[in-house]
Point group: C2
Chain length 338, copies 2
């Protein structure tokens, strides 16, 4: 079975679980709070073609990992649902913190309902994520539920540490490469690693396999992020859907930029200009290439990608349909045809 076939089966189930859990909660006179959450999740006022429910990559990873151990997907659903709620909670608060007016082509929560209500709706979703996650106790027992909840909160804390650095970096002229790696580990890789690890915890695998799953998820998350940084400068606009060198245009301090700021004074002095024309952007891109930033970023992306596939191979030597789909999902996410 291909990934797409499984995805078409599982994503509706994930959406159904999310919606059913939200519907099971009593909102009293605060029905509009529920409305806000439903809107953010893509179910209400999806008045725009691009509006939608998101790709649900994280819960899919949990389900595919559980399935790869030939374990029952039903037991994994509370955790998968909790992870997706948590991810969406972070998006609500990130959008406020970044002042982003749009997400998936629709107005963000704070833009539509104001900052106070959006902060509060995020907090509500944070609690909802925990509530559904604890339902794991029903099929997996209280010990697993406590372990899953504890690690969930360690990841939440890790996410806020990554986010702290991300916000702090905006005000810094220079950011050390290792600080940047720590930031994306918290912001991107931690939750993906949790998603894959939980797939195994639910299937009852041993500590060693749990560690491999964590390594797999972490490498996958890092590879995805570093590749995203690469494509933000050297991606083909026809494929990325963004303008060429878009991250240079929007002045994003991504990995290749930080490398250039450190190693190429000419890049640095161009970067520090308040505005850039197309010629300057092209020049910056070329300078990054000349100073070895492009090669470095590509190497990092390849290193994490190889780590991810190597962990994956060590985890699931016996192939079932879920393992096939998991491999295919990684191929798609990491775009090996790069």
């Amino acid at each position: 079975m291909t990934f797409t076939t499984l995805q078409n089966q599982l994503v509706p189930k994930i959406n159904q679980a999310l919606q059913a859990f939200l519907d099971s909660l009593d909102f009293g006179q605060s029905t509009n709070l529920k409305h806000m959450i439903a809107y953010h999740l893509g179910w209400r006022d999806a008045d725009n073609k691009r509006g939608g429910t998101g790709k649900r990559i994280r819960p899919l990873l949990t389900l595919l990992c559980t399935g790869s151990f030939d374990s029952d997907l039903v037991s994994a659903m509370p955790v998968a649902t909790g992870i997706e709620f948590l991810h969406n909670f972070t998006l609500i608060h990130d959008d406020i913190e970044d002042r982003s007016p749009f997400r998936h082509g629709r107005a963000t929560l704070w833009k539509k309902w104001g900052i106070p209500q959006a902060i509060n709706a995020g907090d509500a979703l944070f609690s909802i994520a925990h509530l559904v996650l604890l339902d794991i106790a029903g099929n997996c027992g209280n010990l697993i539920a406590v372990q899953a909840a504890r690690q969930f909160n360690q990841v939440c804390l890790h996410l806020t540490q990554g986010q702290y650095l991300d916000i702090a970096f905006e005000e810094r002229d220079e950011v050390a490469l290792d600080s940047y790696i720590e930031m994306i580990t918290g912001k991107t890789a931690a939750l993906i690693a949790y998603a894959t690890k939980m797939g195994g915890l639910i299937a009852g695998v041993d500590k060693h396999k749990q560690q491999l799953l964590t390594k797999f998820g972490e490498s996958l998350g890092m590879a995805f992020q570093v590749q995203d940084d690469y494509l933000g400068i050297w991606g083909n606009p026809k494929i990325t859907g963004k303008s060429a060198a878009s991250d240079l245009l929007t002045r994003k301090k991504t990995l290749p930029v930080l490398f250039g700021l450190r190693d190429c004074p000419e890049f640095r002095s161009l970067w520090e200009k308040p505005r850039h024309n197309t010629e300057q952007v092209n020049r910056m891109s070329q300078l990054l290439e000349d100073c070895g930033s492009r090669t470095y970023t590509q190497e990092q992306s390849t290193r994490y990608t190889n780590q991810a596939f190597s962990s994956l191979g060590a985890l699931f030597p016996i192939n079932n349909e879920f393992t096939h789909a998991l491999n295919e999902l990684c191929e798609i996410l990491l775009n090996r045809k790069l």
Copy 2:
């Protein structure tokens, strides 16, 4: 032993537990995130005499309830600590949502570090609250830990529902009394009820006692809030430390005001004026008295107070030092000499 003696013993222990848990966490390069949380909890830059650690009423209630059942306070400490962290998380976000520049005589987190970092620090504290709470598994087992965590998140959700209504009410001309009661039940009473109930869950009491404890905490929280509303208009400025009728001056839509808006057209037309002089404030206060709002508010306060003491009496017929202190704490909070 009097309440003050026990308070002087227990509050330092609570502060120690809070600080030790925060210190046990790895913040990597995000040490300033830890600094922000420590500042909010009153331990850092307490450069102002009024700056301090807060009264820790909620964890005290948990410990006193556990002690009243002759149970070990050590087992209750993770929950007590989690409740205090959670309470402080709500304060960080409330301060942003209300745009309050000061708390305990010091700049609020958002005022000092900006809204994005303050939202994120609140989220970190939310996760920390959950983490320490789950430590209850060590002494009380996984079943109790799952129950405590589930109810914790139900309370978190309830808090956000109360907060949703509170923010929404600001934009409304009129708020129904039952909506107001629902709001303060979520914002104030839910967490206090959790604090008292958990004191019993940890002590291993039966469902009936847990229900009584919930009722006790809920009534205590409601009585405290309604009394606060009463004192906001008719409190003695020498005792409250605020100006006479301060809630009328600051246009707070408290219970007596909502009663007046509903029942007294003359009050309403005065209230709707954009500014009020002292004479008008006195007139509004008098109008509220004439239309029965003062009596109504006093009755509600008395009703909740009686409920609280009646639940307390039914819970702890055998008096130990903790029961004495618990009674005394309620006397102080509900200021029965009103």
